[in-house]
Amino acid sequence: EKSHTPAALQLASLLLRVALSRTELCSMLRIVKLLSVVLLVFAAWIAGLRTGLTDQSRQALLLAPILATAVFGLYSVFSVLYGVFTFRDCPEEAEALRKDIAEARADLIKRGVLQPEQ
């Protein structure tokens, strides 16, 4: 039983090392990189659970993934909402564009590209 965990951990860390090494970085697919990280974290988590721990630490480790997901979820929500609220509205740009369009239209009519009624 105890022999499985180090093997899984070794495989995961090998994949991660390959994923992170500069020479392989560009040729490795994104999905492989993502899965390597997930696999490594998972293997470490399993390894942690298999070692002898106090009840409290063990419970904390069991809850850790849920907590991490919740934290990431909150971070995502706040990040996106912050982005939306700081997304600059630019009515002055629309006005500037209107002016530019008017100027362009007048000149283009002079040059015979546009007709006055367009």
């Binding site: 697919l29 994104r30 999905i31 997304f87 600059r88 509205d89 630019c90």
Partner: protein
């Protein structure tokens, strides 16, 4: 009135003196690496100190690819604004209109523009039917003689007034790609309600988290590319819709191209009706998954 003047100061405006040899060397390097960087001939670039001899300066030519479909109302306006911006910079340029057989007379307007500005400045390279944005770029690139290429939307949501900033940023950083971004300080949008902004930010956050692309605005389509880089990227990119712009940036990073950013403001004149239905969202997500598995 836009004056079509050519002053002797154009070289100085286009290329800062201190960067001349660097610019020439990089252009030469790019030409070797990618085989085709447009019509420039930097063969005399290593000759002497910057500013020695004006004929050794590398003159850059900027091609603008404008794919159009039913843009008869806007095409003359966008071309006029582009001409004005390029003349303000004093750089060499050309505008390539790739029209997909528009039934509203877009090509007629372009022909009148050619009479006004010259056939060497405004190129019309139409296609028989609506064949997609990616292939429109590939088609237009064949005819581009510049060593840099601007990609810009023809519906006036991208204002050509940012062009000098793109050019300056590229010269300062010598980046292979300069990408316009709505999301950083100085950028922004007009005509979007809360829901539209939420979708935009949410999609960008999701894609950026999964793909780690190194740019702040993944789906933006106001960009400046070295021609050789764009040629190399067009060979690889196959996505449709918003995912296409994402794919370019992700593959650019994978190929080791450097990307700089310029804040821009996006003016949505179609007022929210601009193609963001459920179908577009699904296409975006499918494109994202496709990029996860192929880049």
């Amino acid at each position: 009135m836009v004056a079509t003047r050519r002053s002797a100061a154009t070289d100085a405006e286009a290329v800062p003196e201190g960067d001349l040899l660097a610019t020439a060397a990089v252009t030469a390097g790019t030409a070797t690496a990618y085989g085709n960087s447009g019509g420039q001939n930097p063969s005399r670039a290593g000759q002497g100190a910057a500013g020695d001899d004006r004929s050794t300066r590398v003159r850059h030519r900027y091609s603008v690819l404008l794919p159009t479909y039913n843009e008869a109302d806007n095409i003359a306006l966008i071309v006029w604004l582009l001409v004005r911006s390029f003349e303000q910079c004093g750089v060499d340029f050309e505008i390539i209109v790739v029209d997909d057989g528009s039934p509203d007379g877009t090509q007629d307007v372009v022909k009148r523009l050619q009479e006004a500005y010259g056939g060497d400045r405004i190129l019309l390279r139409p296609r028989a039917g609506k064949l997609g944005l990616g292939t429109a770029y590939v088609h237009g690139l064949q005819f581009a003689t510049g060593d840099f290429v601007f990609i810009i939307d023809a519906d006036l949501s991208h204002h050509p007034k940012y062009i000098p900033q793109f050019i300056r940023k590229q010269q300062e950083t010598e980046a292979d790609i300069v990408s316009g971004t709505r999301y950083v300080r100085g950028g922004g949008v007009f005509g979007w309600n809360f829901k539209r902004k939420l979708t935009s930010r949410g999609a960008n956050f999701l894609a950026a988290t999964l793909l780690q692309p190194g740019v702040s605005d993944l789906t933006g389509s106001y960009r400046l590319y070295r021609k050789g880089c764009l040629d190399a990227l067009m060979v690889q990119c196959t996505s449709k819709g918003y995912a296409f712009q994402m794919e370019i940036v992700v593959r650019a990073r994978n190929l080791g191209f450097s990307i700089a950013e310029v804040p821009i403001v996006f003016v949505d004149r179609v007022y929210g009706a601009s193609k963001l239905g459920g179908a577009e969202v699904v296409m975006f997500l499918r494109g994202l998954v496709h990029l996860l598995f192929t880049t």
